[in-house]
Subunit: 326 residues, 2 copies
Amino acid sequence: MSKTKDLAIGLDLGGTKVLAAIISEKGKIISEFESKTDTNQDVSKVIIKTINQLLVKSKVDVNRLLGIGVASAGVIDSSKKEILYANNLNIENFPIGDILLKEFLLPVKLCNDANAAAIAEWVWGVGRGKNNLVYVTVSTGVGAGIIIDGNLLKGAKDSAGEFGHTTIIHNGKPCECGNIGCLEKYASGTAIKKLANDRLQSGEVSILSELLHSEKEVANNHIAFAAKEGDLFSIKLLNEIGNYLGIGVVNLIHLFNTEVVVFGGGVMNMSDYILPSVKKYIKEHGIKQMTEDVIIEKTKLGKSAGIMGASGLFFAGEREKTSLTT
Amino acid sequence: MSKTKDLAIGLDLGGTKVLAAIISEKGKIISEFESKTDTNQDVSKVIIKTINQLLVKSKVDVNRLLGIGVASAGVIDSSKKEILYANNLNIENFPIGDILLKEFLLPVKLCNDANAAAIAEWVWGVGRGKNNLVYVTVSTGVGAGIIIDGNLLKGAKDSAGEFGHTTIIHNGKPCECGNIGCLEKYASGTAIKKLANDRLQSGEVSILSELLHSEKEVANNHIAFAAKEGDLFSIKLLNEIGNYLGIGVVNLIHLFNTEVVVFGGGVMNMSDYILPSVKKYIKEHGIKQMTEDVIIEKTKLGKSAGIMGASGLFFAGEREKTSLTT
């Protein structure tokens, strides 16, 4: 007697880590495993090792697995199951589908990491019950997953939602993508760290200044800590990041006339100092009739949104129907 | 015996004129009539007079009319049939649906002017056969109508596509909408005229300079003429407008991953000097995989796009099915 296939692997391929999990069709995370990545490593080896370690750790019968859902950073082709371009991972035309199929003999589905999170937020999170939602991820880079009238916006080549590569500053900083003045150059985790270190180097006053005597550079968790301690340098910097995100989000609302904007990604551990600025910027600059009712919130699913949305590629239909009592 | 209802009125309510037409379900323009508007007039009176004059001119039996489709500038509510906000027309919460129903006893449908043009371009124009299209109108203001996977993007309140009110310049010029650095402040017909006159006043050299002795200010048709005469001042200015539009269009392509961008609106009578700059900007700044195949073209329907799309609200389904041999 064949067993029911009631589980799927969700793989979240980010700029700094690979997160893999086995998730049930009710949305429960059965088991998860995380590996670090850097651009010098062979990404496919890291991914395969991570999934193998997950399977060992979980002791799940592989016959219960529907497949492997992958949420990846960058520009993807979901029909070819290839990652076309992901500067944070230093890969190009990466055949993730073929690699995983060959290694694990399981069906593979692929989507953008932000699209995965948008699906998860729309079905289980902040956007539950709404038809229009934008999920904005702020981590190593900046991206967006967009739900329009209950459908995921994929675009002609499954590459819609490159929010981080929209210009907010005319003649601004050049970006690795080829564009200039991209939001990602001003409001990503990478940008926050660079901005903080540049300002500290130029002599601005902060409780972080002393740290630079012992550390080569300040990291974002230091900035988060300093902001909580009331460090004006850090709080002002994070408010500025909120303003930059505000420009982008007003643009999104004016283009999409959405109902919900959910923020996720590693940088949102500093949301207390960023989101109020975002909301203030929207209130002061948005067209009132289009912005006044928009829900602006931090993710409730946190770092699980990517793996949940990725696994959800295998039972999204089911999930929409269930009462989702997870 | 009741006659077949095979015609609809299409009304295009713009910043400087009201264009009304009677259009057949095959897309043929039976008759049209145009009136000028300005912000000091009673807009509803101008509209009613225009439609009455159209009906008189066309001699069409009103029993053949399905209704009045309205394409309007600004932010609209298609379910309430109200124009909520249109700064170019100086109106707010304008109940166009009630006004026309009361006057003509015909069903009324309302959509954004750019949405109407997008429908027309998608069904009959540049985007025929494609599933994803953005129509960008550059006239008094700048707007967009967006087709995603064969559906019009309406948004939560039918107000999606406010492309002219997306910020492209951080800390840029304040806009009437409340936002700052809006594309519309840099690349609309209004912006072109202002930029040209400011530069001429400051003494820049142009064949237009002489005109300022006899005229109070230079108009856009003067600039169009001068560009055709090889005036470097005018050509450079229009190239710059193309660059501004390029910033916005790269943002659109990165967000929507669209297949076609169609340009329309009065300013496109200068498209020879604007669109090459737009295309160059996109080539130089867009993510290659997302931009290389995108069709960038001027409208083929011209100023009829608004009235055709507006009337199309009454027989869009038919039009999609027909071979559209107009």
